[in-house]
């Protein structure tokens, strides 16, 4: 790939993407740590996650500033423009991801006070690991600028939904069985929802990467979990469309 | 080496050392320039000084007032011109001075030699206009003869032995006496500008030659300028750039350097011998000078056209002007100052060319003032040549005067070129 005739311009673009990659790494760590703090009931870790979220916010603001500066001063076009805009979009997605991870951490702190719920937290752990992996994969695709890897992540959005729905049914069953569990299960439900949202953000990131590299929109609908014949009945405890 | 330059102290030192050398060269160069100009100006002043020194005396001439008794016994009323008034006046003057004429009439001849033959014509004219003057004494003012005039200007002195002078001692005495009587006056020599050429120096003037030159210039300008400008416009703007046009260009440049006498030979062979045009006429002279001026006009016009920036041509062409409209309405008007300068300067050169004129016959004595382009005339340069070769001493100063007249013409024409150029200069 040719370099810009004005070297500083190319350096600024590279710095921007490097910063996004760094933010991605931090977001990834937040998610992994939040899930782990739930699984191991680790209060210190959960607190660390909550406190570290400020950094993510700062990085978001910084990336936005850098991107605006680049657009104003360099008047980028075509691929350079897409790169700058994509960096801004990714920063938004990653900042939201961080907020969701912080939320999980907060709830982990609350759960740590009550009794352990081993099987349920294990489900969360499994879902968390899937989400984490997807996030890591899509960020690797960004750093490597490889569309196919991003598309691979994009294609597995339905897996997250499946996990979520399974967790949902599980939690409902628990709540119906033992009303004393309702509080804890509700927190877990929110955590599951957050993880599902994180999965969506990873899919967003995949779409942004595709746009940045090809300049075209993604064609086709995201893969979604389609409800089965018994799933639309709201009276049934398991019936819920994601 | 790079280290030495990047070390700023060393760099400064080298710069300063070189500076002195460069300033020195500059001063010397300017001194040479000033010296060259001084030498040129010195030569110019020397030349002009010599000419003015020789010629200024021609601009004034002495005249005298003679009382002439119109002797009725010698004047025929019906044909007054027949009387030799000069002889009559000389005899009367002799009588007035108490000098007896000898048997051969040498004394009256000597007295006659002091007055211009103009006296004859003036007296005859007065008597013809007024016959009542016969029998009366008339005071007639007439120029002195060329020798008498020279004596009064100090050219003839008594120190020189009489055999080597044109005037005898007796004649000089008579002249001194006339001067003492107060009848001798000095005035502007208008004859120099009112008369044509004459064998008598005191009556000789440049008018005939000036008119001849002017007629010739008219013919030259009328032929050379239109043809030259048109040829240059075609060559510069329209003709394709190929070997033929390159050949033409080389030939034109060479023709500008051909000696002018060759054009004279061409004129003689072509216009006079073959086409039988009248010899020594302004027509032939104009044709020859036109041929000479043509290359110069073409070259000057071409460079004036080339100096017009191509953006003007492009603008005109892009507007949909044809090639002819572009040249005629835009390029040529902008090139006008250069064209006019070239034309006027080449006319000024043509004015001063002598060699071709000599070959086409303008060498001989041409009295009178010409009126048409087909009669034989003289021109200023050939007049100067003729006067320089004349035997009478008085023609010496008149030659220098004629040179001054020619120079004045050239200065006026060059000044006109500069003024016209300034007025028509347009900035693009």
């Amino acid at each position: 790939m040719n370099t810009h005739t004005v070297k500083a311009y190319g350096d600024e673009l590279n710095q921007l993407t490097a910063e996004v990659a760094r933010m991605g790494g931090l977001a990834e760590a937040q998610v992994a740590d939040a899930v782990e703090s739930v699984a191991r009931r680790d209060v210190a870790l959960a607190r660390a996650v909550v406190e570290r979220d400020v950094k993510l916010d700062a990085m978001h603001r910084d990336i936005e500033k850098k991107a605006i500066r680049l657009i104003a001063l360099r008047q980028p076009v075509a691929s350079d423009l897409r790169k700058a805009l994509s960096a801004m979009k990714l920063a938004v997605d990653l900042e939201r991801t961080g907020d969701l991870a912080k939320n999980i951490g907060k709830r982990a702190l609350i759960l740590a006070d009550s009794e352990p719920l081993q099987p349920l937290t294990r489900s969360i752990e499994r879902m968390g690991r899937l989400v984490s992996t997807r996030l890591r994969d899509v960020l690797d695709a960004y750093t490597a600028a490889e569309v196919d890897r991003a598309l691979a992540v994009w294609g597995t959005d339905d897996e997250v939904d499946e996990h979520y729905n399974a967790l949902f049914r599980e939690l409902l069953t628990y709540m119906m069985g033992d009303p004393r569990m309702i509080s804890a299960c509700t927190h877990l439900l929110f955590m599951a929802k957050n993880l599902e949202r994180i999965g969506d953000h990873a899919t967003n990131i995949a779409e942004t990467i595709h746009y940045e590299i090809t300049g075209d929109d993604m064609i086709g609908e995201r893969p979604r979990w389609t409800p089965g014949p018994g799933d639309t009945d709201l009276s049934h405890p398991a019936g819920q469309v994601a | 080496m790079t280290d030495a330059i990047s070390d700023s102290a060393e760099r400064t030192r080298r710069l300063e050392a070189g500076l002195k050398r460069r300033h020195g060269r500059e001063q010397r160069f300017r001194a040479y320039g000033v010296l060259a100009i001084a030498v040129a100006v010195a030569f110019l002043l020397l030349l002009l000084g010599r000419i003015i020194d020789q010629g200024h005396r021609a601009f004034y001439a002495h005249s005298t007032t003679v009382s002439v008794f119109m002797d009725p016994s010698r004047i025929d009323r019906t044909y007054p011109q027949g009387t030799n008034f000069l002889q009559m006046a000389a005899e009367q003057q002799l009588a007035r001075y108490g000098v007896q004429d000898d048997a051969l009439g040498l004394k009256s001849t000597a007295m006659r030699a002091l007055f211009s033959s103009e006296l004859k014509f003036r007296a005859a004219e007065q008597v013809r206009d007024n016959p009542g003057l016969i029998g009366r004494t008339v005071a007639i003012t007439t120029p002195m003869s060329d020798d008498a005039d020279l004596y009064f200007k100090g050219e003839i002195s008594r120190d020189v032995p009489p055999e080597q002078r044109r005037l005898s001692d007796q004649q000089l005495d008579w002249l001194d006496r006339m001067k003492a009587e107060g009848v001798v006056g000095s005035e502007f020599n208008s004859a120099l500008f009112r008369n044509g050429d004459s064998t008598e120096p005191e009556l000789a003037g440049v008018l005939g030659a000036v008119v001849g030159s002017a007629l010739m210039l008219l013919v030259t300008a009328g032929l050379a300028i239109p043809i030259g400008v048109a040829a240059a416009v075609y060559l510069q703007e329209f003709s394709p750039r190929n070997r033929l046009t390159a050949l033409i260009e080389v030939n034109i440049n060479n023709l500008a350097a051909v000696p002018s006498i060759v054009y004279g030979l061409l004129g003689l062979a072509l216009f006079i011998n073959w086409m039988h045009l009248p010899r020594a006429s302004p027509l032939v002279g104009g044709l020859v000078l036109a041929l000479m001026a043509l290359p110069t006009i073409i070259i000057a016009t071409r460079s004036a056209l080339a100096a017009v920036p191509p953006s003007i041509r492009e603008a005109a062409l892009a507007m949909g002007a044809s090639r002819v409209q572009t040249v005629g309405q835009h390029v040529l008007p902008l090139a006008m100052p250069g064209v006019m300068t070239g034309a006027i300067i080449s006319m000024a050169h043509a004015l001063g060319e002598t060699a071709p004129l000599l070959l086409i016959g303008m060498v001989s004595f041409m009295p009178g003032v010409p009126h048409s382009v087909t009669e034989p005339v003289g021109a200023l340069p050939s007049l100067i040549y003729i006067w320089e070769n004349a035997s009478e001493r008085a023609f010496h100063e008149r030659t220098a005067a004629a040179i001054l007249v020619l120079l004045a013409f050239m200065i006026v024409m060059n000044a006109a070129a500069i003024v016209l150029r300034r007025r028509f200069e347009r900035r693009w």
Binding site: T3, A78, D80, D216, D217 | E314, L317, M319, R427
Partner: protein
């Protein structure tokens, strides 16, 4: 193509600003005042005005253009971009046969305007140039008065029959070029006494006085300061509603601002052509991308 950040179906084409009543109007389809369609906002282009097919240009033995085929639509601005010496000015000049004035220049191929080949023998270049005007890089008004400059074209082509008609044409042209207010008091002073930007507008007025169909501009703003440049760009915006405009420019930003179609030339060949929007957001050719992002030349 759409930017997902900036456009959504609600605010496409509307004046923006999201108070609730306005939203309801949009949803119910009631009329919302639309801003006047201006350059780059999707106003329709006219039919093809000039069609070039396999045009090659030779300067003696040297070939400057290689088989260029390009369609230029009417009522729009087409910009030709590319590095120095890529042939864009040469191509521009084929469209009013100004290359004819250069000795040794040969043009092959077919250039059609409204269907007829402009290089054929029956077309007089003088008449062609009354239909296709040109504006040059360095403003070159004639060294005459402002009035005479603008009146020159109509005069030599015999387009007006009376003095008052000519006066009207001069005034209309100067008004359309945005110069009338500044010079109406001094029409009979020298055109060369104006500032650079004013001179260029005078030259444009001169070009449009003959009511051409096409206006060719060869880097019209490269000798002007930014304010004069902006005025000329605004003028081009207004002119494109009447004329077909082709502009050669070194400044890609200007091409992006001013044109609806862009053609990228490189080393005498046409590399890519397309809607300006597409060229500057997602060009197809690698060379185009490298050039517009400043990765070479």
């Amino acid at each position: 193509m759409k930017f997902r950040i900036f456009r959504s179906p609600e605010n496409e084409g509307a004046t923006g600003g999201g108070d609730v009543e306005r939203r309801d109007e949009v949803v119910t389809g009631a009329s919302v005042p639309m801003p006047k369609a201006r350059a780059g906002s999707g106003a329709p282009l006219g039919p093809t005005k000039i069609a070039a097919r396999d045009v090659s240009v030779f300067y003696g033995q040297k070939q400057a253009l290689f088989d260029v085929s390009l369609d230029i639509p009417d009522k729009s601005v087409t910009s030709l971009i590319g590095p120095s010496g890529c042939g864009k000015s040469t191509f521009l000049r084929t469209m009013n046969r100004m290359n004819d004035t250069i000795t040794g220049c040969k043009v092959t191929g077919r250039i059609e305007m409204d269907g007829s080949d402009i290089n054929s023998r029956d077309i007089d270049p003088v008449l062609l140039r009354a239909r296709v005007g040109m504006v040059f890089q360095k403003p070159n008004p004639f060294p005459k008065t402002i009035y005479e400059n603008v009146a020159y074209g109509p005069r030599i082509h015999g387009l007006t029959t009376s003095k008052s008609e000519l006066d009207g044409v001069v005034e209309a042209s100067l008004k359309r070029a945005g110069l009338w207010e500044e010079v109406s008091e001094r029409l009979h002073t020298a055109g060369t006494g104006l500032s650079g930007g004013q001179q260029q507008r005078l030259v444009i007025a001169r070009a449009i006085a003959v009511e051409p169909e096409v206006i060719l501009m060869d880097e019209p703003c490269s000798a002007l300061d930014p304010i004069a440049t902006a005025k000329i760009e605004e003028l081009i915006d207004e002119l494109r509603e009447r004329y077909c405009i082709v502009i050669v420019t070194h400044s890609m930003a200007q091409a992006a601002r001013v044109s609806q179609r862009t053609a990228f030339f490189h080393m005498g060949r046409l590399v890519e052509t397309g809607d300006t929007e597409d060229i500057f957001t997602n060009p197809r050719e690698r060379r185009t991308l490298d050039y517009i992002t400043g990765r070479f030349g």
